[in-house]
Symmetry: C2
Subunit: 159 residues, 2 copies
DNA sequence: TATTGTTATACTCTATAACTATA
DNA sequence: TATAGTTATAGAGTATAACAATA
């Protein structure tokens, strides 16, 4: 028998207690990760970047101001030398610009170059394509319900 | 002005074209990954497993039948020696049982031990706790809409 | 001969320690 | 002295190549 009266959507209501939603969300997330990660990982390897380097690029891309090396080190939870090597490779490839901080010449300020920006855009596009492929595999009803579920969260979460 | 008539939920309808849903889904997934990955990574490191070993455990946990080493190698996309070393560590720790295949003595069959099963359950519980924490941070309306969106997908996706 | 798995060796990435330059 | 970053060295983890056992 039906658990409750159906709303105007015409569909039966579903259990939406915390545990049920968390469980279902986990199932969807797992599948989505598979869909969206494969091409992304392949692209990073193809381009010859390490994941640490990709994280550095993303961090610098999100930053409004030039960042010193130790800021990346702390945010990513990696040692100074590890970041130093990763960034050095990015500088040599022209993805990142590294300049002395005139106010403290011990510090080096890092900024994304136009090439680095294009690199990020490339990786973001690949990620998005994977997610889009997942959404395209849904029925119209599934997509509409999912959109109604994630839209308000996206509005609130996105910076 | 309003894009269309509001349904019985009392909320405005939202755009649910593929690109919009994919974009919003990406935002939510990103936040969810942050919420659910931190403790998981810490737990894996704390327990002294490599991520390859955790993947091996999950794979053996999902398998109905004992699996030979090269099956893990192919599924995970890693070299035979890498899997051999990872599995060897799991065998020494009593997480996995490794026996000769009586029908082909070149092959070794791998199965999860009861201890390995407990290890997986532990990691799954930590993952779930992270997702649950995310869901608990939602308002009732947000949680109900999200549940309605992911529930039908979970029904269809889960094995 | 071909295949399954292991051992030998080299490479990459990271961490700790030592070092340089600046504050 | 303390701090930012780099260089030196050692430890994981992986891949390719060489090997052993079985088919």
């Amino acid at each position: 028998m039906h658990a409750s009266v159906s709303p105007a959507t015409g569909a039966d209501t579903v259990a939406t207690d915390v545990d049920t939603v968390a469980t279902d969300l986990g199932v969807v997330m797992k599948q989505l990760l598979v869909s969206s990660s494969r091409d992304f990982f392949a692209a990073v390897e193809q381009a010859g970047f390490t994941f640490t380097q990709v994280k550095c690029l993303h961090l610098l891309g999100d930053a409004a101001e030039p960042r010193p090396l130790n800021a990346l080190s702390e945010t990513l939870g990696l040692s100074g030398p590890a970041i130093s090597r990763a960034v050095d490779g990015l500088v040599q490839r022209g993805e990142v610009k590294r300049t002395e901080d005139p106010r403290d010449r011990r510090s080096k300020l890092l900024t994304l170059s136009p090439r680095g920006r294009r690199t990020i855009d490339h990786f973001v596009a690949i990620r998005f394509a994977g997610i889009k492929r997942f959404v395209e595999g849904l029925t119209d009803d599934e997509r509409e319900a999912l959109g109604a579920g994630v839209s308000p969260l996206a509005r609130r979460l996105e910076s």
